[in-house]
């Protein structure tokens, strides 16, 4: 829009590092009034880190931020809010028991002469804000009953009441229905007309092209390009997002495919995914690709018995399988390496040996007594096989690096002698070297006849490892590609809702 206008918020050379992971490196960004600026990138490209820096949750390690030309240091979330930077997170952080109006004005409720809350004035002010937004919303109801979409509007109203000049929205459409997205976009356009500088963080390309004036692409924590939206096509943007990576990835070894080990038929879970069907053969790696929230993890949870399907059927080795708990799944040879290693994969305070033996402690016991020698032997066998780097199997899992922790999780499941392995983001937060090792392990397991489902947001990983790729989009199978037909662009197009080419 207004090319010459001075930026309200300007980031120069911002970097942020978490342990071994360089989340952001030398990122530049300029937000201008009257403009919706989209920030796109794959999962893990650094978008969330950038949002958290703007929200004052993280402080950058290097680089400079300027607000209206003034140097900006955000000591915390309160400081950001105070300076007119409002951030709307994917999951609004409101007070469910307080009313809509209270949530908007929390911390600065209007007072009556008795120093009490002036409810009349409070509700009128909140109603004015919602009327300005063109939204009908009863302001005296508690937030608890509101949908995510309505809760976001409460956050937006709050931002307006604080007279925010910069509005950062972190994947605001992730849990909205299409009708709710339309309403949100109408409001975003209004805010833009009022002169608010908006940063719209998303990875749904079609939405970005609908709403944004300008788009910046992040990849692997680096700023790739910033262009006016009119000068790019969706295909260009996707190309910039996926880029060409230099990492050497361990390609899958050739393996002879056996009979079908696992089959999902019309699997559905209300509100999460529906009509998901696919097959995995022995020795085959099937990649499950899609955006965050497309339903990949949810499908895996059903296959592992954590959740239950509302419809559809799972077949293991051609037989109907009734999976009601993880124990049932394990009995059928299905195991699941979850996405959240720390919360779901490991008991961090337990030793490597205790983690490896956890699913099979019963099997390792005689007359109830846990055979510690057998436990340690088993753990050190698998540690050796997977090359876990640790001082010994009695070391606590919490002291291991991300890659080695992941190997322990894999070791724990291999110890159950599974036939079907579900992997959910197995290399997330793992450094490059360990990543290649994890890939080698996966590949070897497939070569030994294991049927593998690989959920990954990293396209090169899926492309390198998988024999077949099933792409989910909004809870449905959007496309299925063989190894030879697949490309990053085609997967991304299917995952973002563009019909498969």
């Amino acid at each position: 829009m207004n090319q010459a206008a001075a930026p309200i918020l300007e980031l120069t050379g911002v970097s942020k590092r978490f342990g071994a992971v360089q989340a952001l490196q030398n990122v530049d960004l300029q937000l201008v009034a009257h403009e919706v600026h989209a920030l796109v990138g794959e999962n893990g490209a650094g978008k969330s880190t950038l949002v958290k820096i703007l929200a004052g949750i993280h402080q950058p390690d290097a680089g400079q931020m300027k607000l209206n030309g003034q140097e900006l240091v955000l000591s915390g979330p309160a400081a950001a809010r105070h300076l007119g930077i409002a951030v709307i997170h994917q999951h609004p952080n409101l007070f469910p028991d307080l009313t809509v109006a209270e949530n908007v004005f929390v911390g600065r409720l209007p007072r009556n002469p008795l120093r009490g809350v002036d409810w009349g004035e409070l509700n009128r002010a909140a109603e004015r804000l919602f009327a300005d937004l063109g939204v009908k919303q009863s302001v005296s109801v508690p937030v608890r009953g509101l949908s995510v979409a309505d809760q976001q509007l409460v956050e937006i109203a709050k931002a307006l009441s604080l007279d925010a000049r910069v509005l950062v929205m972190d994947e605001p459409t992730a849990s909205l229905s299409s009708r709710e997205v339309e309403r949100l976009f109408t409001i975003i356009r209004q805010l833009r007309a009022r002169g608010v500088a908006i940063l719209f963080v998303d990875h749904r390309i079609e939405e970005v092209f609908e709403i944004a004036d300008r788009v910046s692409v992040l990849r692997d924590g680096r700023h790739v390009i910033t262009v006016p939206i009119a000068e790019v096509t969706p295909a260009d943007a996707i190309r910039h997002m996926v880029g060409r990576r230099l990492e050497t990835l361990f390609p899958k070894e050739a393996a002879t495919l056996g009979e079908v080990a696992l089959e999902a038929r019309g699997l559905a879970r209300k509100g999460l995914f529906s009509d998901v069907s696919f097959q995995v053969r022995r020795g085959e790696i099937v990649g499950l690709a899609g955006l965050i929230g497309a339903g990949r993890t949810e499908v895996a949870r059903v296959l592992f018995g954590i959740d239950h399907a509302d419809a559809g059927e799972v077949l293991v080795a051609g037989m109907h399988a009734d999976i009601r708990s993880p124990k049932d799944a394990m009995r059928l040879g299905i195991v699941y390496v979850p996405e959240d290693r720390h919360q779901q994969g490991l008991v961090l305070d337990f030793s490597i040996a205790a983690n490896v033996s956890l699913p099979i402690v019963q099997r390792l016991s005689r007359l109830l007594v846990l055979d510690r020698a057998q436990e340690e032997g088993l753990a050190s066998d698998y540690s050796k096989q997977l090359q876990v780097r640790a001082t010994g199997v009695d070391q606590a899992a919490s002291g291991l690096s991300g890659g080695n922790q992941q190997k322990v999780v894999i070791a724990k499941w291999l110890a159950t002698k599974p036939t079907i392995l579900l992997l959910d983001e197995p290399t997330q937060g793992v450094d490059i070297g360990a990543k290649a090792e994890v890939h080698r392990i996966i590949s070897q397991l497939a070569a030994q006849g294991m049927a593998i489902v690989l959920i990954s947001s990293e396209l090169p990983e899926v492309l390198g490892m998988a024999d077949r790729i099933v792409v989910l989009h909004e809870g449905r199978v959007a496309a299925e590609f063989g190894r030879d037909e697949a490309s990053q662009e085609r997967i991304m197009a299917a995952a973002t809702g563009h019909a498969p080419a």
Binding site: P77, L94, F95, P96, G145, A174, S175, R179, G271, G293
Partner: protein, 346 residues
């Protein structure tokens, strides 16, 4: 988990959701109405069985019995709203009651002085709870389970087997309970005043709303700069003060005080609070609800007496009522949560 709704809502679903929103609001407000209805049913049934029950003097008796519990329930509500609980209230009431009575018996202080010291003692005991919880970060249940016995033990230490009887107490003190204001017993007036002031402050003061905010979403409260720990400390001080007030009035109401006074009161108070719709997970509920809960329980107690049913059921009823109230609340919440999910919204 974040998931986009798969089905676009149809207009009928949308209408259903707006209805749902109203229902949710209504359910929250209906709690007090619900208790009143149950109360009416109890009164109706018992009145038919025993006409003696339905009399002004009996209702006055019920309200007198409720007044001290109601004052303690006001303090407990303040604490429970912040996602905490105070198990020591019974011991605070007992200790304050004895100390106040003893001061009057020994003529150490005059009536206003003894009352002031009693209230201050309550504040101090509440502050001690608050310190353990807000500073040493001991979970409230453990901290107040400990002080439940510490305060009761101190009560025994101070009492040393002695007892304060009505004849030891000055007439001016005993007169508090027997006097009345415009025909209404002073105790009931005092309890009603305290409840109304607390209800007003919790509903309308900035600090009151912040207490709700803390219980509703502690992390978000911290983020927007609410001094969470300081307010939790304050809530325990208020709870101590309320228990202290009930304590100074205890001797006046019952005439005699020994070291066992008000033991087990905490369970009655907690039962009243949860029956009254104060969410045990914090964040919602009102003082009015808690007081209505106390009245309902006292009415049931009175009815049992009038119907010559075993008084031994009382404690069991308190326990069952705690379980029922909490389970019902959880079930209602879960039910609406599921409906919200089904209609494609969370």
């Amino acid at each position: 988990m974040s998931v986009r709704a798969i089905d676009s809502p149809t207009s009928s679903a949308l209408a259903g959701r707006i209805g749902l929103e109203r229902t949710l609001t209504l359910v929250a407000r209906l709690r007090e109405v619900g208790i009143l209805l149950v109360l009416l049913v109890v009164v109706a049934i018992v009145s038919i069985q025993a006409p003696l029950f339905f009399s002004v003097s009996n209702f006055e008796q019920i309200l007198l019995n409720v007044s001290l519990i109601a004052v303690v329930a006001v303090g407990q509500t303040t604490v429970v709203l912040t996602r905490n609980v105070d198990l020591s209230v019974g011991s605070v009431v007992g200790l304050v009651a004895f100390v106040t009575g003893d001061l009057l018996k020994e003529h150490t202080l005059d009536v206003p002085g003894a009352i002031a010291v009693g209230c201050l003692l309550g504040v101090g005991l509440g502050a001690f709870n608050g310190l353990i919880i807000a500073v040493a970060r001991v979970p409230a249940i453990v901290a107040t389970l400990g002080t439940l016995y510490v305060y009761r033990g101190l009560d025994f230490l101070v009492a040393g087997g002695k007892q304060v009887s009505a004849i030891d107490l000055p007439r001016g003190y005993l007169g508090i309970a027997s006097s009345s204001v415009l025909g209404v017993p002073t105790l009931i007036v005092a309890a009603a005043l305290i409840a109304l002031v607390a209800a007003y402050l919790l509903r309308n003061s900035g600090v009151g709303r912040e207490l709700y905010a803390i219980g509703s979403n502690p992390a978000a409260a911290e983020v927007i700069g609410i001094p969470t720990q300081r307010l939790i400390f304050g809530a325990f001080v208020v709870c101590g003060l309320c228990a202290g007030i009930a304590g100074v009035l205890w001797g006046s109401r019952f005439g005699s005080v020994n070291a066992l006074a008000a033991s087990g009161l905490e369970l009655q108070v907690i039962a009243a609070v949860v029956v009254g719709g104060v969410n045990i997970f914090g964040g919602s509920g009102t003082v009015v609800g808690a007081v209505l809960g106390a009245i309902l329980l006292a009415t049931i107690e009175n009815a049992l007496r009038i119907l010559h049913l075993s008084e031994f059921w009382l404690l069991a009823i308190d326990g069952a009522v705690i379980l029922l109230a909490v389970a019902t609340d959880a079930a209602i919440r879960g039910y609406f949560q599921r409906i919200l999910m089904r209609t494609g919204r969370r």
